[in-house]
C-alpha cells in the first residue's frame, strides 16, 4: 500500500472512531438526562457549558426575542421551543418541543432528544465545527 494511501486510510479510521465517540457521548448524555424529564409541562433546566470545544447555552427565551420578527413565516407567535432558547457559540439554534416533551433542532429535525441540552450537544456533533448561520428565507 503506498504511504499516502495508508495515511489517508488511517486518518479515515481515526475520523470514524472520533465520530463514534461523539455519538456515544451524545447518547450517554441523552440517557442520563432522560431521568429528569418529568413530562411535557416540565420547564427544562437552563444550562451553560463547553461541549467539545463549543459553548452551548440554554435558557428560557426573553419576551420579544428572536421569534418576534416572524421570519419563519409560520403565522404563529411565541416561538416553537416552548419559550426556550438554545445557542451555540452565541448563535441561535432553532429548537422545537414535541408534544411528548422531547426536542428537535433545525440540524436534527427528524430525530428526537429528551432535553434541550441533549439537542444542543447533538447539534455540536452534527456541525463538526461549522458555524450556525441565520437562515436565508424568502
Amino acid at each position: 500500500m503506498p504511504e499516502l494511501t495508508r495515511r489517508r486510510a488511517l486518518g479515515a479510521v481515526a475520523g470514524a472512531a472520533a465520530a463514534v465517540a461523539v455519538a456515544g457521548t451524545a447518547a450517554a448524555a441523552a440517557r442520563t438526562e432522560r431521568t429528569v424529564v418529568s413530562g411535557p409541562s416540565a420547564e427544562p433546566a437552563s444550562f451553560d457549558e463547553v461541549f467539545q470545544g463549543r459553548r452551548i447555552q440554554g435558557a428560557p427565551a426573553r419576551a420579544g426575542g428572536h421569534h418576534g420578527g416572524g421570519h419563519h413565516g409560520g403565522g404563529h407567535a411565541g416561538g416553537h421551543g416552548g419559550g426556550f432558547s438554545v445557542r451555540i457559540d452565541g448563535e441561535e439554534l432553532h429548537v422545537m418541543r414535541n408534544a411528548d416533551g422531547t426536542w428537535i433542532s433545525v440540524v436534527n429535525h427528524y430525530e428526537t432528544y429528551p432535553t434541550p441540552r441533549a439537542v444542543a450537544r447533538a447539534a455540536v456533533a452534527e456541525l463538526q465545527g461549522a458555524a450556525l448561520v441565520p437562515l436565508v428565507t424568502a
Binding site: 479515515a12 409560520g74 414535541n98 440540524v107 436534527n108 450556525l132 428565507t137
Partner: protein
C-alpha cells in the same frame, strides 16, 4: 400521463435526463425556492399551534402537492421526466445503484461528510448548497451512520395495516396511520429514512439532497397502497378542527388546494406497479 417508476428500474437515459433536469432547476433558481418553502413549514409547524406540512394530518396531501409542483417544473425542463421513487425496504444499503456516480452519488467522506462523486458533489460546480443553516455549502451525507438500519417491509406492512388515517390530537403524539408513517410514533418509517441518509437530509433544509424527492415519492406511494388496502377509510379530520387542515380546507402556501383534492393520485400520475 406521468408514470412514477421505481428508481432501481430506470434506464441509464432516464437517470441522465432526471439528473439534468434537476441541475437545470438548480441553475435557474427554482430548486432553492422549494428548499426555502419546505424549511419555512418545518420550522413553523408546531404540535400545539398551526401545522400544515408536518406533524399533522395534512403531512401526506401537503407533500403530494409539493411533489406535484416540483415534478411539473422538472417537466417544464424535460417533458419525459417523472419523479422516481426509492423503495428503501428493498434498496437498503449504500451499495444500491441509487447512490452510484451516474445517479445521486454516494455517501460523504469521513472527514467532513462531503459527497465526492456524481453530479451533486460540490466539486462538480453545479450543486452549491445555498439555503442552509450552517456555514457548509457542500452536499453532505452519512449513509447508515452508526449502523442505523432502514425500515423493513415488515415495518411498512405493520403501518399499512392501521385502518384509521389519523387521530386526535392530530400531531406528533397521534396514533393511526399518518403519524406512524411519518415516524413520530412506533416503528418510525419516514423520519428514520431522513436520519439514515444524514447530512442535509437530517435537517430542516432536507430538499437540498435530491434523494428527498425519491424518498417522499415512496412515502406518497405508501399512502396510495394504504388507500387500496382500506377502501372504507379516508382522510381525517372531517371538519372544525383548530390549527389543523380539515378534509375540505385549503392548505398553505397554495391556498387553492384541499386534502380532498389530493386523495386521488391517478388524476395526476400512476405508478409502475399497482399501488
Amino acid at each position: 400521463m406521468t408514470v412514477r417508476k421505481n428508481q432501481a428500474q430506470l434506464t441509464a437515459t432516464e437517470k441522465r435526463r432526471f439528473v439534468d433536469a434537476l441541475l437545470e432547476l438548480k441553475r435557474n433558481g427554482q430548486y432553492d425556492a422549494f428548499v426555502t418553502t419546505h424549511n419555512a413549514f418545518i420550522m413553523g409547524d408546531t404540535d400545539n399551534g398551526e401545522r400544515v406540512g408536518h406533524r399533522s394530518p395534512s403531512f401526506l396531501p401537503w407533500h403530494r402537492r409539493f411533489l406535484l409542483q416540483f415534478e411539473r417544473q422538472l417537466q417544464a425542463v424535460d417533458p419525459s421526466v417523472a419523479l422516481p421513487y426509492w423503495d428503501w425496504t428493498a434498496d437498503r444499503t449504500a451499495a444500491s445503484s441509487l447512490w452510484a456516480a451516474d445517479f445521486l452519488g454516494g455517501t460523504g467522506r469521513s472527514r467532513d461528510g462531503q459527497v465526492m462523486d456524481g453530479s451533486f458533489a460540490f466539486t462538480s460546480g453545479k450543486w452549491p448548497v445555498s439555503i442552509r443553516v450552517d456555514g457548509r455549502g457542500f452536499l453532505r451525507r452519512d449513509l447508515g451512520a452508526g449502523g442505523r438500519q432502514l425500515p423493513t417491509r415488515a415495518d411498512v406492512d405493520s403501518v399499512l395495516a392501521m385502518a384509521t388515517y389519523d387521530t386526535p390530537p392530530w400531531n406528533s403524539a397521534s396514533d393511526g396511520f399518518r403519524n406512524h408513517l411519518e415516524g413520530w410514533r412506533g416503528v418510525n418509517l419516514h423520519n428514520r429514512v431522513h436520519v439514515w441518509v444524514g447530512g442535509q437530509m437530517a435537517t430542516g433544509v432536507s430538499p437540498n439532497d435530491p434523494v428527498f424527492w425519491l424518498h417522499h415519492a415512496f412515502i406518497d406511494k405508501l399512502w396510495a397502497e394504504w388507500q387500496a388496502r382500506h377502501p372504507g377509510s379516508t382522510y381525517l379530520p372531517a371538519a372544525g378542527t383548530p390549527n389543523v387542515v380539515d378534509l375540505r380546507e385549503t392548505m398553505r402556501p397554495w391556498n387553492d388546494v384541499t386534502p380532498a383534492d389530493m386523495l386521488d393520485h391517478t388524476r395526476h400520475y400512476t405508478f409502475d406497479t399497482a399501488a
